[in-house]
Amino acid sequence: MKKFFKIIFVCCSFYIIGCSDLNIDSISYSRIELTGQESRMISDVISIYKDSIDANLDNVIGFSDRLYTKGDFSYERFNSTLGNLIADVIFIQSDSVFKYHENKNIDFVIQNHGGIRASLPKGEVKLTDAYKILPFENEIVIVEMDGEHLPEIVSFLKNETTPHPFSGLTINGNEVLVQNSLIIPTNKYYIATNDYLLTGGDNMFFFNKNTKVYRIGYSLRDAFIDYTKSNLYLSSKIDNRFIRNE
């Protein structure tokens, strides 16, 4: 065994009061961190696949002024820098498409914390970052819902252990505003979410109370890529959109 691999191992022992011929005499454990040499055969196979995607993915599409993560939230200020960035970007991009096709505006955006899979590094933003942050092939869908169902959404968001990104909505304790206005139960609201959540993903079953679903054929990742390319500089911060004080 070469010394390339960092190893932590534990030998555990067991007394056995056996009833079969073979007994487990002892059990040892190692956790091996992969830092060692590469298999040539495997890396050759990888290179064939890699070459065909690298050329595209290495393209710089924008710039980021710092490292953004989805994990920098606190219990009270229940939003993250990267979550806010993604939700705001999806709001801007889907609102313009929705306006163009349906002549309607988005009221707010809800995405899922788990849909963001990587951090946005500081400096050059490459196409590959878009794939890492938003790897899923999920599309933006606009859900039309009556205002009476929105409290259920809010209470779901409040009870989650991770902050699902949203935009256009503010929750400050018991005060809930959509586009800076109180919710009117009989009004129709247009919520930009994604097709995973629409089908009950991450237990967001409330979306099945929709009165209409608009599919705009626009993936989350494409929205992020388009926004980055046209705005070039990405920036975000934790704000007061979600304050939990109970």
Partner: protein
């Protein structure tokens, strides 16, 4: 069956890797080595040099060379993955899982269980990739009848390694609320506890397995009563080892819990993205002996 008692004769020592042989008391001992990964999430390449936690770590090519070395040291080695092989890098977006299974077959994985992200490219694509790569998936509590995967997965597998029978079954997480029904189609999910009780008993007694391993994508532990590896361990018997996934839990060493009958069950999970490989050696003998427990950090 109260068949073994766990003893800690713990001491902290600094040993070279060769020191591992000191655990082998008897030359007649037969060792089964289990290597395992989980939630590799298409991390084909090592992490980039600017990664905040694991710069240059991981990657399939390094893992392949490690596996090769360890198989040379002990040919009685079995390699398993506990699911979520797919999704996470452009390799999956571009090639839909073809590369992951191709490489895993080449590098010596025996089997994997099905994680929720294995459904991400749809069952039709999944089927194509399983068939093209002749890759073994073990799933005991998903019923794929009337789906593309019908007949392509096994409820359990028994591996005979140097006369030791190792029975392996696989458990998947509830799909409703986690995976789009458009992706999993007619796949049915059955209660993991019921299935685990049935299959582990069958493997241990009917099939006479010396070692029963569950590869699970249920998740390590939850705050509520959702079924997890730790809960599964407590509610069942006849399982020796649970190799976990889904929650990306990085355990420094395996968790040892008592099962329903008060016997030890080992639970392990090694984070995500293939940065770590778990290695568990089961030393079998005809004699009842114990050895010291070492905790070694190199």
């Amino acid at each position: 069956m109260n068949r073994r008692k766990f003893i800690y004769n713990s001491g902290l020592a600094s040993l070279s890797v060769m020191g591992l042989n000191s655990c082998n008391i008897n030359s007649r001992n037969l060792k089964i080595t289990i290597l395992h990964t989980n939630d590799v999430h298409s991390q084909i390449d090592p992490f980039p040099s600017n990664h905040n936690l694991y710069p240059n770590k991981g990657g399939f090519a390094k893992r392949a060379s490690l596996f090769k070395e360890l198989i040379t040291i002990n040919p009685n080695t079995l390699i398993f993955d506990a699911g979520d092989i797919f999704q996470g890098t452009p390799y999956f977006n571009f090639f839909q899982g073809e590369l992951e299974l191709n490489l895993m077959k080449k590098m010596g994985y025996n089997a994997a269980t099905i994680g929720n992200h294995e459904f991400d490219a749809g069952l039709k694509t999944f089927k194509k990739n399983i068939l093209n790569n002749d890759f073994q998936f073990i799933s005991s509590n998903y019923d794929f009848t009337n789906t593309e995967l019908e007949g392509l997965t096994d409820k359990y597998k028994i591996y005979n390694k140097g006369g030791i029978k190792v029975g392996v079954f696989g458990l998947g997480i509830e799909l409703r609320g986690l995976v789009s029904p458009l992706l999993y189609g007619e796949t049915k999910y059955y209660d993991p506890v019921d299935i685990a009780k049935d299959i582990s008993t069958k493997l241990k007694y009917e099939k006479g397995c010396d070692l029963v391993i569950c590869i699970s994508h249920l998740g390590h532990q939850y705050q509520n009563d959702k079924i997890s590896d730790t809960l599964l361990a407590k509610l069942t018997s006849n399982i020796d080892l649970i190799i976990g996934g889904h929650t990306h839990t990085l355990l420094k060493e395996p968790l040892i819990l008592n099962n329903y009958l008060g016997e030890e069950v080992i639970i392990n999970q090694v984070g995500s993205s293939g940065v770590f490989v778990g290695k568990i050696d089961f030393n079998f003998t005809n004699n009842n002996k114990n050895s010291d427990k070492f905790l070694v950090e190199v």
